[in-house]
């Protein structure tokens, strides 16, 4: 396969830093940068409330560095492209959170990927050695990455957004960390995600395709970095066909049933148009109606992308009144807002 990258970048070595600087420059009313590219809220929440820290690789914009702000994250430590920040920078983020909370509780949310877990865990240990009051929780949602029954081995994907929203809303209200962690675990237990890739992206640092896929094929269950799904490629299919397959798998795994009300995140991977996402959503509605299931305030768009990868991920979370209230809670970040 011939492949030529066409991206508007400068030096590949600098691109993670340059994108973060551009983001903060553009949204300086929401964000500020301190130390080694640590992103904080421009208007931190009052001291004494739990500070939420998140770190992950760059290259998934606007996820998740675009979601720092009121009702969401307090501190974001973004690493290189697709690579979580090292423990030294995550520690720096935790130290900032400690300062902002006035020595109060800090919570680090970790997406379940090897680097994120190794580095996040190391940073939390280092912070505790300094006397910082910090806990972490590892989040996962991708049903393609490990079978049912091995949920904690699953990867973190776009469905973590439900957890981030719940954690951010609770922290903003002044809820203590123990309660936030219990709620986040409850949201994770009720969340399932499955992705579909129709076209690979190029890795911006190397110019190479992240994976290979024939023109007439798609992959059900790729990771957020295009890692192949357990089933390998399938022949290309229509929006309705692929949505039905994805829903079948999610609903079986999540044990969702008639009468359930679900949060829905239909996430574009980068190159898939809103046109396609709306066509896919239309089928979701039909499918839900047949099953007697309902959705609650769906979110549709490019939330966690993988460069210009074509495809989508669908995340479902079985809601209750508490989860719905947190989903509805106000948020004000550069790329995600919920009005009061």
């Amino acid at each position: 396969m011939s492949w030529r990258m066409k991206k508007l970048i400068n030096k590949p070595e600098n691109l993670a830093w340059e994108l973060l600087e551009g983001l903060v420059d553009a949204y300086s009313d929401h964000l500020q940068m301190v130390g080694d590219h640590i992103i904080l809220r421009r208007h931190p929440k009052p001291k004494g409330k739990v500070q939420i820290v998140f770190g992950q690789g760059s290259g998934h914009e606007p996820g998740l560095n675009g979601f720092v702000g009121y009702g969401m994250h307090d501190v974001e430590v973004a690493g290189q492209i697709f690579a979580c920040a090292g423990p030294d920078r995550i520690l720096e983020g935790i130290q900032e959170a400690h300062r902002l909370s006035g020595g109060g509780e800090v919570l680090v949310l970790i997406s379940n990927h090897e680097g994120d877990v190794i580095n996040g865990t190391a940073a939390v240990e280092m912070a505790r050695d300094e006397g910082i009051n910090v806990e972490s929780i590892v989040l996962y949602d991708d049903i393609a990455s490990a079978p049912k029954g091995e949920e904690t081995n699953r990867r973190g994907m776009a469905g973590l957004f439900f957890s981030f929203k719940a954690a951010g809303a609770l922290a903003e209200e002044g809820t203590d960390r123990k309660r936030i962690m219990e709620t986040v675990q409850k949201v994770i237990d009720r969340t399932r995600t499955l992705a579909v890739a129709v076209r690979p992206c190029t890795i911006p640092t190397t110019g190479q395709p992240l994976f290979e896929l024939a023109d007439d094929e798609l992959i059900i269950g790729p990771g957020v970095h295009g890692e192949a799904g357990p089933e390998g490629p399938s022949k290309m299919m229509s929006a309705n066909e692929v949505m039905d397959i994805v829903l079948d798998k999610l609903i079986v795994d999540g044990e969702f049933k008639a009468g359930d009300e679900l949060l829905v995140l239909l996430n574009g991977c980068g190159a898939t148009t809103l046109m396609e996402l709306f066509i896919l959503f239309r089928r979701l509605k039909e499918n839900f109606e047949q099953r007697g299931m309902e959705y609650y305030r769906p979110l549709i768009g490019n939330i966690v992308t993988t460069q210009e990868m074509g495809g989508f991920s669908l995340s479902l979370c079985k809601a209750d009144e508490g989860i719905k209230r947190l989903w509805d809670a106000p948020a004000d970040t550069p790329y995600f807002k919920v009005c009061k």
């Binding site: 030294d88 090897e114 680097g115 190794i118 190397t206 990771g223």
Partner: protein
């Protein structure tokens, strides 16, 4: 008189050679990583080593311990992900064992790699056979220890260790990935050589060739 030890300057040369060798192999390593990883291993490692060695070069008075630390922290900071921290930990562990050493003998190399491997395992929780860089460093260390016990000179010992590391890296083709992104490929990861183990083999081979040229 065969080479028995290397001094601070010679050790610095070895570090520079490692950085250059990984940069030369960048494309190959990245290509290996593209099958069962996220396809940027070579790029990340080369970049982290380049920045680390540049700092080592600029601080001319640094001890062996300090120079290893500089490389280790640069890998952790600049590469990130699992590989930055894992390879960074290897260098930091080696630095710990090199504390106070003005010269490095075969026994010192053994102690340094043991300490490095211990820190890698503490961080990454991987065992031999899990299809990681440990599958190259573990046999290399075993070979060095055997050479030490048998009184084999430094240059020859590292030539044997380099062969063991390369064989170990190739052996990863037969293994099922248990860590990182390779884990999600399960049985499908068989047939692909681990990029981290390959980088480790490149590093050990570079130490071997550097020592051989110093022995001339």
């Amino acid at each position: 008189m065969p080479l028995e030890k290397v001094n601070k300057e010679q050790f610095k040369t070895i570090l520079g050679n490692i950085s250059a060798a990984v940069a030369r192999e960048k494309e190959h390593l990245t290509q290996l990583d593209s099958h069962i990883g996220d396809g940027d291993h070579g790029f990340g490692m080369a970049n982290g080593l380049r920045i680390g060695f540049e700092k080592v070069r600029q601080t001319s008075g640094g001890s062996i311990e300090e120079n290893l630390k500089t490389i280790g922290f640069s890998l952790i900071k600049e590469v990130g992900g699992a590989s930055g921290t894992i390879f960074g930990s290897l260098f930091l562990g080696m630095a710990k064992a090199a504390k106070g050493r003005e010269e490095i003998t075969l026994a010192d190399f053994c102690a340094m790699l043991s300490e490095g491997l211990a820190l890698v395992q503490q961080r990454g929780k991987a065992q031999p056979g899990d299809k990681t860089m440990i599958d190259a460093v573990h046999p290399a260390l075993a070979s060095l220890k055997q050479s030490l016990a048998e009184g084999i000179p430094l240059v020859e010992a590292f030539q044997r260790a380099a062969q063991a590391a390369q064989a170990g890296a190739e052996q990863t083709k037969t293994m099922i990935g248990k860590h990182g992104r390779a884990k999600y490929f399960r049985e499908k990861s068989i047939g692909y050589q681990d990029a981290g183990a390959t980088t480790m083999a490149v590093m050990i081979s570079t130490i071997a060739s550097s020592l051989a040229s110093m022995d001339a």
